[in-house]
């Protein structure tokens, strides 16, 4: 029966993810971004909370809620601290050697490759550190990787589809959490900052932008929640596509709400926008999920 209630286990996990984000991630996110890593003691605390391999303990839909809360504190954290399925690239076809120009991982020793026909684990890699900072997700580290051999086959086409479901839900949940954080930051700021004699949130042009962001995030979030619960590839492709589009737009609009201040490192919003942009490129990005959604249109009920 139609029901949007959160169950107790869900609330518990959500709460511990939220607290970890607020207490451990958010206060240090600029430092972690600057160093390009999360310190070992933070990793240890994360593991202690059982958030590391959250998918192994619960359903995809509930894991998505945890990822979303964590990403609100630092969008790079879920990826760096314990992504589902480890370090992964998604390719259109498996032909080695190939180069991954940017991989959000400092020193990968192996790399899972998801291709339409199956999944392999490559360990014959050339890893080069990237000299200059990437657009986003810097705290996760970054490398250019050349895959010389596809490596051992660890899954067939059905497994590849299953992996893609997890990966897309993961990326979408992180984007959603980051965008929700940016939107709520912009709302708070706009209620405090005054211009022309009143809070800027009370100018209709900006007020409408801010409430539209909240509406669109809820719409995308509900679609993602339902897709994650269904674990159905087409539903997940649609949700990933909608979240990617929505999160990027909301991040940019939220930055705009702060005017010039939003452009500065003094506020987290410019980082949210960059991180979301980088998350949107993972696992084939929205173009791949949009293509999968297109393939499904004619069969859709």
């Amino acid at each position: 029966m139609i029901d949007f209630s959160a169950h107790d286990d869900e609330l518990l996990l959500e709460d511990s993810a939220r607290r970890f984000a607020d207490e451990q991630l958010r206060p240090c996110e600029r430092a972690h971004e600057a160093t390009g890593c999360f310190p070992p003691e933070l990793r240890a605390r994360y593991e202690g909370l059982g958030l590391c391999d959250v998918l192994a303990q619960t359903s995809l839909a509930i894991a998505a809620i945890a990822w979303e809360r964590l990403a609100a504190g630092d969008p790079a954290a879920p990826l760096a601290l314990g992504p589902p399925r480890g370090v992964v690239v998604v390719v259109e076809q498996l032909a080695t050697p190939f180069e991954v120009p940017w991989l959000p991982c400092a020193r990968p020793t192996s790399l899972s490759i998801v291709a339409p026909q199956g999944v392999t684990r490559a360990s014959d890699l050339i890893v080069e550190p990237l000299a200059a900072a990437s657009c986003g997700l810097r705290a996760a580290g970054a490398a250019r990787v050349t895959v010389r051999q596809p490596g051992k086959v660890i899954g067939d086409a059905a497994d590849a589809a299953r992996w893609l479901v997890d990966l897309r839900v993961f990326a979408a949940a992180c984007m959603l959490g980051a965008a929700r954080d940016a939107a709520s930051y912009a709302r708070l700021y706009a209620r405090e900052r005054t211009a022309f004699g009143r809070p800027i949130a009370h100018h209709q042009g900006l007020a409408f932008e801010l409430v539209d962001a909240a509406t669109e995030l809820d719409a995308a979030g509900l679609l993602l929640g339902l897709a994650a619960a269904s674990e159905e590839p087409a539903a997940v492709a649609h949700a990933h596509a909608l979240v990617t589009e929505t999160a990027q737009r909301v991040a940019e609009r939220s930055l705009q709400a702060l005017g010039g201040h939003g452009y500065l490192h003094d506020h987290p919003i410019e980082k949210r926008m960059r991180d979301i942009r980088a998350l949107a490129s993972l696992y084939g990005g929205a173009i791949a999920s949009e293509r999968d959604a297109v393939d499904h249109v004619l069969e859709a009920a």
């Binding site: 029966m1 959160a6 409408f208 409430v211 539209d212 509406t215 509900l222 649609h238 297109v294 249109v297």
Partner: protein
Amino acid sequence: MIDATLDAGLLNVRDLLRAFGQRYLRPAGLEADRSGEPLPVDHVLFREFAQLGFKFGMMDGKGDAPANGPRRGARTGVIAAEELAFWDQGACMSLPGPGLGGAPMALLATPEQKQRYLKAPFADASKPAWGAYALTEPGAGSDVAAIRSTARRDGDDWIVNGEKMFITNGARASWVVWFATVDPAQGRAGHRAFVIERGMPGYGATRVEKKMGLTASETAGLVCEDVRVPAANVLGNGGFKAAMATFDLTRPMVAAMAVGIGRCAWERARDAAREAFGGRPRATREVLLLDRLARARRRLDAARLLCWRAAWKIDLGEPNTVEASMAKIYAPRAALEACTIAIDVLGLAGIAHDGLVEKCLRDVKIFDIFEGTGEVQRIVLARRLLDYPAA
């Protein structure tokens, strides 16, 4: 975790309405759209609907709760609204019943008033009857507080004067919930709801509007000239608040109707696409069309979930103003997008009347306007989320 399954009860409602919609609503809606006139009060559709025994007077969630079971009326309402609108929203709005007037009745009426207005007029299934809701005036649409209808005491009675506009089923209604001010100096606090009955001297319809769409549905202008209204016809005390609370109950359903129209256009376009370019490699143009269809589909699906969430909160008995406004902001735009792309998929045939989708486009546009425009919804949300000041 979101559960979007429909239980057997909801599936029954949907299937029943699907059969009814296909057989009666769709042909009636197309017929009215061709003729340019609302369905006449003696249309066969209305007798058939009465025999179905499905009632809409359950938007408060109380109407159909099984003994000791959770309330489910609002969720039933959104499922029903989407399904009926899928077949024809104009014909659906013309169906007999208390209509939008049912919600303030449910909120404010005494048991005697409920018997008189919600039960008695609709008891005889062979005689279709309508109720209506009259808030909007020629000079006061979104700015509801600015209504100029007046009611002044005269002994135990009230004398009501004023003009209303855009009243669904207004000319054919047996009664209409009429919002008027008892003291313009009090602003919103002076608003009261009166039940004006057909036949009261001085009350009548001034015009039936010609519209872009929803042709099957009658949209009327009404007037009260020194209408004497007995005290027994006054609904509760909460005029403005009741008018607003009504919207929290109806907006999820209205948004769900938009989803239904969007789905109608979308499915027509999908079927056309299947026929035209299914099962073979696609040209670039076809891929672009399918991509736009896919985009429209996910927004429609997301819109439906916003509607369902807002309805679910009603069933829980929780405030749902934010959720209802979000649904009402998002669904009409998503549905309009679906209708627009559906026309593109059909090509020039999409502009022809029998393509159906151009009618969907004309029908769905009003959903971003009535029951609170998209702009009003944004103000409602801004008040909740941003402390946006009341006007």
